[in-house]
C-alpha cells in the first residue's frame, strides 16, 4: 500500500484546506481570518462544540446507512428521503402520543427506523424484483418523500400553532436527554456511535456482514457461492434506510423537538461524502462525520465573517469525492512505477 492510499484521509483534509483558502481568496478574505472564523465558530466554546457535534450526529446516521448499502454494492443516494420519512413518522407520532416518556422516545426512534426502512426497502424491492436501478429510484424517492412530507405537514399533521410547515412541538418529557448542559447535543450521538460499533462488528464477524461484503466486491462470485443476492439487496437497502430514518427521528426528538420540512439542509447528500471519505469503514466514518460537522457548524460563522457562502461546502465535498476516488488510481500507478 502506498503512502497516498493509506493517508487518503489526510490528503482529503489538506485538500479541503487548500480549496477553502482558494474560495476565501476569491471572495476577498484572507484564509487566516476565514479559518479562524470557521474554527472559532465550530470549536470555540462548549456551545459551538455542541453545535458541531449536533451536526456530526445528524451526518453520522445517514453516512452509516449509506456505508452499509455501498458495502453491498448498492448506491443509495436516497438517504435524504429516508431521513425525512423517518423524521416525519417520529414527529407525527410524538406530537399525538400520550404514553410514558421513555416508551414514547423508544416508539419515536422505532418509527423513524421503520419509516426510513420502508423508504429504502421500496428501492430495494424494486431492485430485487424488477432490477430497477437503485440510484435513480432512491433519488426519485427523495422527491416523493419531500412532497409527501410537505403535503402532510401543510395539512393534516400541521401543528395548531405552527407558523411554517411543521408539526406541533413534542412535550419536553419526549425529548432525548442532552449530553452537554445548555447545548442542543442529545444522547443521539451515543446511539450513532453505538451503531457504528455494531456495524464494524457486523462487517468483521457475522455471516450477514461477510455475505454483504462479498456481494459488493464480487457479485457474480457471491451469487455462485450460496449468497441470495435478491434477499441481500432488499435487506441491505432496508437496513440502510432504517439507519438514516433513525437519524431523522433522532433529529426530531433530540434537536428540533418537532418535524419541520426544513429539518435537513441536505444531510443525506453530504453523508455520501462522509461515507466515502471514511473509506466505508464505520469507525473512520465517525471521524469524517466530525470533520464535516466542523464544516457545517463553522461554515455558518465563516459565512457571516468571511463572506464565503456555506453552500460552497458542497463544491468542496464534490471535489473531495473526485480526488479521493482518483487517488486509488494514482496510488496504483505510483506502486507500479516503484516496482518497475
Amino acid at each position: 500500500m502506498s503512502v497516498l492510499h493509506r493517508f487518503g484521509g489526510i490528503v482529503a483534509v489538506l485538500l479541503v484546506i487548500v480549496l477553502m483558502s482558494l474560495a476565501m481568496v476569491v471572495a476577498g478574505t484572507s484564509p487566516i481570518d476565514g479559518f479562524s472564523a470557521l474554527l472559532t465558530g465550530a470549536l470555540g466554546g462548549s456551545n459551538q462544540l455542541g453545535e458541531t457535534l449536533v451536526a456530526t450526529t445528524a451526518l453520522l446516521f445517514p453516512a452509516l446507512g449509506i456505508c452499509l448499502a455501498f458495502r453491498a454494492g448498492l448506491f443509495n443516494i436516497g438517504a435524504e428521503g429516508q431521513l425525512i420519512v423517518g423524521a416525519l413518522l417520529a414527529g407525527a407520532a410524538g406530537a399525538q402520543m400520550h404514553v410514558a416518556a421513555p416508551l414514547a422516545i423508544a416508539i419515536m426512534l422505532l418509527l423513524g427506523a421503520i419509516g426510513g426502512g420502508v423508504w429504502g426497502g421500496i428501492a430495494g424491492w424494486m431492485k430485487a424484483r424488477f432490477n430497477a436501478n437503485e440510484i435513480i429510484s432512491t433519488l426519485m424517492l427523495n422527491f416523493v418523500a419531500a412532497s409527501v412530507a410537505l403535503t402532510l405537514v401543510s395539512g393534516p399533521l400541521r401543528g395548531p400553532l405552527a407558523t411554517g410547515a411543521e408539526t406541533a412541538w413534542l412535550p419536553p418529557q419526549y425529548w432525548l436527554p442532552t449530553l452537554i448542559p445548555h447545548t442542543r447535543l442529545s444522547a443521539a450521538l451515543v446511539l450513532a456511535l453505538a451503531i457504528a460499533a455494531v456495524l464494524t462488528w457486523v462487517f468483521r464477524a457475522t455471516v450477514f456482514g461477510y455475505e454483504l461484503n462479498a456481494a459488493g466486491e464480487a457479485p457474480e462470485a457471491a451469487k455462485r457461492n450460496g449468497i441470495n443476492i435478491a434477499r441481500l439487496t432488499w435487506l441491505s437497502l432496508t437496513l440502510s434506510g432504517a439507519i438514516a430514518g433513525l437519524g431523522g427521528a433522532s433529529i426530531v426528538t433530540g434537536e428540533l423537538h418537532r418535524f419541520n420540512t426544513q429539518l435537513s439542509p441536505g444531510y443525506g447528500f453530504t453523508a455520501i461524502a462522509v461515507a466515502l471519505v471514511g473509506d466505508l469503514q464505520p469507525l473512520w466514518i465517525c471521524v469524517a462525520a466530525f470533520g464535516f460537522g466542523i464544516l457545517e457548524s463553522g461554515g455558518l460563522a465563516m459565512q457571516a465573517s468571511a463572506q464565503v457562502p456555506k453552500d460552497a461546502i458542497h463544491l468542496i465535498e464534490g471535489l473531495i469525492i473526485l480526488v479521493l476516488a482518483a487517488r486509488r488510481y494514482v496510488a496504483t500507478r505510483i506502486e507500479k512505477g516503484q516496482a518497475a
Binding site: A205, V207, Y210, E217, A218, A221, R224, G226, A340
Partner: protein, 460 residues
C-alpha cells in the same frame, strides 16, 4: 527479407520479468509456432509484436501490417458480422456507412479465403467456431503481412481444426508470415514449419519443426520431466448424481470421474448451471449425499465466479462455505484459517502468507485455492469446469491428482473440459455433448480419440 523482427525484447510488470532478451524473426510464408507454459511470456511477446504493448527495451521492426486474432474474441455480440469485420474501416457514402459495399467486401474476403459466412448475421447468434471466422476476417480485411493467432483452436472441434489450418496454410502460401501461439503440441507438429519455445520469459530454443519431436518440445517447455498425475484406485461405485431432463440423461457414481467432452458452447454451461442451481431446468436432478456435503464446485471462470480478488486467501476460503463455518450468526474465522493452511499445504500454494490478496497470486495459485476450497469439506459430488485452463503444467498435474484422489476417497467427480486430452488422461468415463445433448458415452477401456472427436463435431 523477414516480415517481422523482434530484437532483444525485454518487458517487465510489477514484480515479474515477463519477457527477457527475446529475439524472434518471422519470414513470409512460414507458419511459426510459439509454445510455452502459461506465464512463460508468449502472450506478452505477441502483444508486443502486435504493438499492443510497448517493450521496456529492444526493437520491433514490422514490414507491413500485423494482425492479431485474440484467444478471447474481441467482438461485439449485438452487432452484425460486417459491422464487426469493418469496424474502424467502414466504407462510406457521404456521411453514412455504405452498408451495401460493406456486405460485398466481407463476402469477397470470406470467399477469397474459403470461409463461409453470412455478413448480416448477428454475431452473438453464431456458434463459437463461426465467431472466430469473424475475428479472422476482421484481421484479413487489413491484408496483414504478419498474422498472429493466439490459441486459435481452443474453441474448435477436431474437424474444424483441420479446415481452419487449411485456411492458414493457404494464407501462408500467399506470402503471409504466420505465428501461432499455442500449447497443443500435436498441432505444432502437424502444421508448423518452425517452432520457438519460451520458458520463464526467455526463448530457450528455435528450430525447424521437422527436426524435433513433441516429447522434446514438451520437455523444453517444462524444463525437465513432465509431472505425473496420481494413480487411480479401484473403488466400489454407488449412485450419486442423477440427471434426467429432456436433453440429458446422465449418472455420475461416487468413486468415478465422468468427463464431459465437447466443443465450447454445446450446452456445458447450461449443464453446470443446472447442477449448481443457477438456472432452472425441466426434469429431475438428484444428488445422493452419503452423509457428506452435497456439492463442491470449481467454476469455469475463477476470477469472476469463484474468487473475490481483493480479499485475502483466508477470506476466500470461506466463500461458499458460510453454512459449514456458521456458528449462530457468526463465522468461524479460526477454522477458516486452519482450512486455508491445510489447502496451502496440500496444494503447494506459493504465497507470502494467508492474508495476501488473491489478486496478487498467479493464476495457478489462485486455481489451487479454488480447487482446494471445493474439495476440503469432502463433498459427495465435485463439479469441475475446465479446472486446469490457463495454468502451468505443474499446477495442472497437481489439480488433476487431487481430483483423482477425491475420487479414490469416494467422491463423484463430474469433469467438464474443452481439452479432450485432459479427459482421456483423467476420466473413468467420457460423455460427449453436442448441441445441448449427450450424444455418446465411452468407458475408459473403450476410449477412442477419433470416435469421440467425430461426436464432438456432430459427425456421427
Amino acid at each position: 527479407m523477414p516480415a517481422l523482427e523482434l530484437r532483444s525484447i525485454r518487458k517487465t510488470f510489477p514484480g515479474v520479468v515477463a519477457v527477457d532478451d527475446a529475439d524472434l524473426v518471422l519470414y513470409p510464408g512460414e507458419i511459426h509456432a510459439l509454445v510455452g507454459e502459461n506465464g512463460a511470456g508468449k502472450s506478452t511477446l505477441s502483444a508486443i509484436a502486435f504493438a499492443e504493448l510497448k517493450p521496456d527495451s529492444g526493437t520491433v521492426i514490422a514490414h507491413g501490417t500485423v494482425g492479431l486474432v485474440h484467444q478471447h474474441f474481441e467482438l461485439v455480440g449485438r452487432l452484425r458480422v460486417w459491422e464487426n469485420v469493418l469496424l474502424g474501416r467502414e466504407p462510406r457514402r457521404g456521411w453514412t456507412i455504405d452498408a451495401h459495399a460493406a456486405r460485398k467486401r466481407v463476402r469477397d474476403i470470406a470467399e477469397r479465403n474459403g470461409l463461409r459466412i453470412d455478413p448480416d448475421a448477428v454475431v452473438e447468434t453464431l456458434p463459437i467456431g463461426v465467431q472466430q471466422r469473424v475475428e479472422l476476417l476482421r484481421e484479413l480485411d487489413r491484408e496483414p503481412s504478419v498474422l498472429l493467432l493466439d490459441e486459435p483452436t481452443a474453441a474448435l472441434a477436431p474437424s474444424e481444426i483441420e479446415s481452419f489450418f487449411q485456411t492458414v496454410k493457404a494464407l501462408a502460401a500467399c506470402g503471409t508470415a504466420i505465428m501461432i501461439v499455442t500449447h497443443k503440441l500435436q498441432e505444432v507438429m502437424a502444421y508448423s514449419s518452425t517452432v520457438t519455445v519460451m520458458r520463464h520469459g526467455r526463448i530457450t530454443a528455435t528450430m525447424p519443426t521437422a527436426s524435433t519431436t513433441a516429447e522434446a518440445i514438451a520437455q523444453a517447455m517444462v524444463g525437465g520431466e513432465i509431472p505425473k498425475v496420481a494413480a487411480r484406485e479401484e473403488r466400489p461405485l454407488a449412485p450419486c448424481l442423477s440427471i434426467r431432463t429432456g436433453d440429458i440423461s446422465l449418472d455420475v457414481r461416487s468413486g468415478e470421474i465422468v468427463g464431459i467432452a465437447g466443443v465450447e458452447g454445446n450446452g456445458q454451461t447450461t449443464l453446470a448451471d443446472s447442477i449448481t442451481g443457477m438456472i432452472p431446468y425441466d426434469g429431475t436432478l438428484s444428488i445422493e449425499r452419503n452423509g457428506r456435503p452435497p456439492l463442491g464446485v470449481i467454476p469455469q471462470d475463477r476470477q469472476a465466479e469463484a474468487l473475490v480478488l481483493a480479499w485475502s486467501i483466508v477470506d476466500n476460503v470461506m466463500l461458499g462455505r458460510q453454512q459449514v463455518l456458521r456458528r449462530g450468526a457468526l463465522l468461524d474465522r479460526e477454522r477458516a484459517r486452519t482450512d486455508a493452511q491445510t489447502i496451502a499445504q496440500r496444494f503447494d500454494v506459493r504465497a507470502a502468507n494467508l492474508d495476501v490478496a488473491v489478486k496478487t497470486l498467479s493464476g495457478g495459485n489462485q486455481q489451487k485455492i479454488v480447487v482446494g476450497r471445493a474439495l476440503i469439506d469432502e463433498p459427495a459430488l465435485v463439479l469441475a469446469y475446465n479446472p486446469t485452463r490457463g495454468i502451468d503444467v505443474g499446477a495442472a498435474a497437481l489439480v488433476q491428482s487431487r481430483l483423482i484422489e477425491a475420487r479414490n476417497r469416494g467422491a463423484a467427480v463430474l469433469l467438464i473440459s474443452f481439452e479432450l486430452d485432459e479427459l482421456l488422461a483423467v476420466a473413468d468415463r467420457i460423455a460427449v455433448m453436442y448441441r445441448g445433448r449427450i450424444t455418446g458415452e465411452f468407458e475408459r477401456i473403450a476410449f477412442d480419440r477419433g470416435a469421440i472427436g467425430r461426436l464432438m463435431a456432430g459427425l456421427a
